[in-house]
């Protein structure tokens, strides 16, 4: 008995340890309703790293079109799982996909979907589009922004594997009144009260202050010189989006699959900028030392910061993408009453009537949005179908309802005011837009649309996030003057040692050290 049990255990161990999970061949499955299936007994599983598909009504829309009584997939159950990136979305979904138990549909940011595509987890949706008589592949390809379409293509077969309805370009949102105080006397600065004042100030900032890494450093020094308790940015993470300093950035990985020396050289001005911005305390720093996403970081949007010593500080600008305006900055912008007096934000114990009144009040409208030294993107949700899905026809129907139902997309855009990657949705939205109240009437959609046009998403690789992290650690050590970090060379040499250990497959000798 003992010997039998031992043998059983060892056999099980061997079987489990050496089981390899492979993906099925990526054949284009049928998109037609499968008459042999009883959809009332089936379940469609969708995973996403945000709850947007639920809160924006996309799931309800799909259910109304496809699973309600009398519809093609009547009775189908739908399970939606939202796991934020901070809660370990990738840590959970990768093992599920690897084991063959992944969801039918799953989303990801751009670097995530690059991993999904590389691993073969995503189905070929381009062939599904071709097979569906209701979808005009050529028309859809022409309607979506080319760089969004291209970024979702599987290089192994040249077919589309994932697509995003969003574009998420970023900008520098800044307080126009503070900018006017600092630079109002400089040549060409628009006069207060002039037409489209916020837009005019933004243009001036674009041309004079935010157009290069050197000018960004000078701008920060200007703000501090004007008022020792004012800072341009809350922290130095605000400038990480401009590390490339160009709209044609190098890729981290070159054509040989190795670490790209040109990318390293491109980072050097950024490393020097961060070093120049640092100070041990706020007094000696060019930023307010309010870490991104911390309480003080949020507070500085609409009020003075008070540090531990009792000094107060004000912050002028934040680097945020499209979703940042609506979900992060606007909820923390100042509001005014009918006479233009700034309203106090209701506290947590305020009654509902006060909260409602504040929510309905007008924005002060003292913010503008400018470009930085380069365009950047932050986030963005791509959608794809599991190559192993047992319900490809249902999954594709969901995709259709999300990505190719233009009437729905127009209504969705009107509701959330977001930037979409669909020309037929955005062109009329931009043309008919009356302007954002919080930005003093600026047409933020037009600004974002121009920013998005400059973004080069083809430079993104699966190594980007990890390499930026590794380099960031050493840049932080350098800016703080840690032992062994006296120059940019030290930063780069330490970075290369880490790459040699962490990503030995891309490491190569002879990389630049200055």
């Amino acid at each position: 008995m003992k010997k039998f049990l031992t043998l059983l255990v060892l056999s099980l161990a061997a079987l489990l340890v050496f089981t390899a999970c492979g993906n099925q061949a990526n054949e284009a499955p049928s998109v037609a309703v499968d008459e042999s299936k009883d959809y009332s007994k089936e379940k469609l599983v969708i995973w996403s790293f945000t709850d947007e598909l639920d809160t924006a009504g996309d799931i309800a829309h799909f259910e109304a079109l496809y699973t309600a009584p009398g519809k093609p997939f009547e009775g189908l159950e739908l399970e939606f799982v939202a796991v934020s990136i901070q809660d370990g979305y990738m840590d959970k979904i990768l093992p599920a996909l690897e084991s063959g138990n992944g969801p039918d549909i799953f989303t990801g940011e751009l670097d995530h979907i690059k991993q999904f595509i590389e691993a073969g987890y995503y189905a070929d949706i381009e062939s599904m589009m071709e097979a569906d008589p209701e979808v005009d592949l050529a028309a859809e390809k022409a309607d979506y922004k080319d760089y969004i379409w291209q970024s979702g293509i599987d290089p192994a077969n040249g077919k589309l594997s994932a697509l995003s309805w969003q574009v998420t370009p970023g900008a520098i949102f800044f307080k126009v009144d503070m900018a006017a105080a600092v630079w109002g006397n400089e040549a060409g600065f628009p006069a207060e009260g002039s037409d489209d004042y916020n837009a005019a100030v933004t243009n001036w900032m674009n041309e004079n202050k935010f157009n290069s890494l050197d000018n960004l450093l000078v701008a920060q020094q200007d703000v501090k010189a004007y008022n020792p308790n004012w800072r341009l940015f809350p922290d130095d993470q605000s400038v990480r989006h401009f590390a490339a300093g160009t709209n044609d950035p190098q890729m981290w990985i070159d054509a040989d699959g190795k670490l790209n020396p040109a990318k390293i050289k491109e980072q050097i001005p950024y490393i020097n900028l961060v070093k120049g911005m640092y100070g041990e305390n706020i007094d000696s720093s060019l930023t307010a030392n309010a870490d991104e996403w911390s309480g003080p970081w949020f507070d500085a949007m609409d009020k003075d910061l008070t540090d531990a010593e009792g000094n107060t500080w004000q912050v002028m600008a934040y680097s945020m993408p499209t979703w940042g305006l609506k979900y992060i900055i606007e909820p923390n912008m100042e509001k005014v009453d009918a006479e233009g007096n700034t309203l106090d934000k209701p506290g947590e114990t305020a009654d509902q009537a006060t909260v409602d009144a504040y929510a309905a009040a007008a924005y002060k409208g003292n913010w503008g949005m400018a470009s930085g030294p380069n365009s950047y993107f932050w986030g963005g949700t791509y959608l794809g179908i599991n190559a192993d899905s047992k319900l490809p026809e249902v999954s594709f129907a969901f995709l259709k309802s999300m990505l190719f139902d233009k009437e729905r997309l127009v209504a969705r855009q009107e509701a959330d005011g977001d930037m979409y990657s669909v020309e037929s949705v955005m062109a009329p939205a931009i043309a008919g837009y009356e302007g954002r109240e919080s930005l003093g009437g600026m047409n933020h959609l037009d600004v974002f649309n121009k920013e998005a046009a400059k973004i080069n998403l083809t430079s993104v690789t699966t190594y980007d996030r990890g390499l930026n992290d590794l380099l960031g650690v050493h840049i932080t050590n350098y800016k703080q003057g840690a032992d062994g970090y006296t120059s940019v060379s030290d930063v780069l040499e330490a970075f290369y040692k880490d790459v040699q250990v962490t990503y030995p497959e891309i490491y190569v000798e002879g990389l630049p050290t200055e």
Binding site: V9, A13, V17, Y121, N281, A290, E309, D469
Partner: protein
Amino acid sequence: MSTFVSGGIKMNKRKDRIGYAFISPFFLVFFLFNAYPIFFTLYLSFTRYKGYGAKTFIGAENFKLIFKDPNVVDAFLNTIKIWGVNIFFQIFLALLLVMVFSDIKYKVKGLGFFRVVFYLPNLIAAATISLVFAKLLDKDYGVVNQVLFQLGWIGDAIGWLTEPILAQMSVSGIQTWMWFGNSFILFMASVQAVSKETFEAASIDGAGRFQILKNITIPSIKPILMYVMVTGLIGGLQLFDIPFLITDGKGFPEGSLNTMIVYIYNMAFVHNNYGYASALSFALFIVIMIFTVIFTVATNRTEIKDFIKRRKEEKARKKMLVEKGSVSNG
């Protein structure tokens, strides 16, 4: 007779089967959630694997890399420093409280209440603790510096989590606060097993507090003290949650909070190098095992010596018996 013996054997076999049936659920769970992950990790340590796609067998390359990677030594030393300070103060504080609560002269009341209060930090989730202390200890905006400024005790803000040594001490302090209550409860339970008369007799005989601590209290809690030290060592070498959550998760400042497990975690789940992370995990497993053996041997020297002596005597006796048997047979 043979039927009776046969029946007895059958009964024993049936009892065996019943016994195996009862213990098999444990072994099933143990195999699935302990043994299998360990073996799979060992397998991964011989591969290059990104967490998705194919696993490429690369032999012992990952293990060779451990000896070339300077971060491994740094991470190990960080772990030892943070753990070392923590375990010292954790046990010191627990012993101090044991002394106070077992003092027969003052007979401090409210042991039950204080046990709960001291143990409460252990019940709070590490994520919550990290969030709270990150805000309290923030250099520029934290409450601790605010209070110290207002009291006039400092002229410049203290970088509790921005200076490397201070960051390590802060994490050690947080760990001490979280775990001293656990140690106190264990020690106190051992002390309470010693009869009060023993302490009273010692006191009557003129023994001071430290003499009572050295000669009665500590010997009585020695087994549990060893248990706390060993489990503290194993847990300490796997230190992760507070150092990971309290700053940026990458060891800030200057890598001082980059413990072994933080390093392994980032290697696997941030950099998708599961193969090397698995090799590091196994190396840590070996190190913990070595440390545990060394510690156990060092703290049980007398018992081990006695055991070895008894084994030698047993072997000598058996040899003598065998020789006597050979002589008589001869």
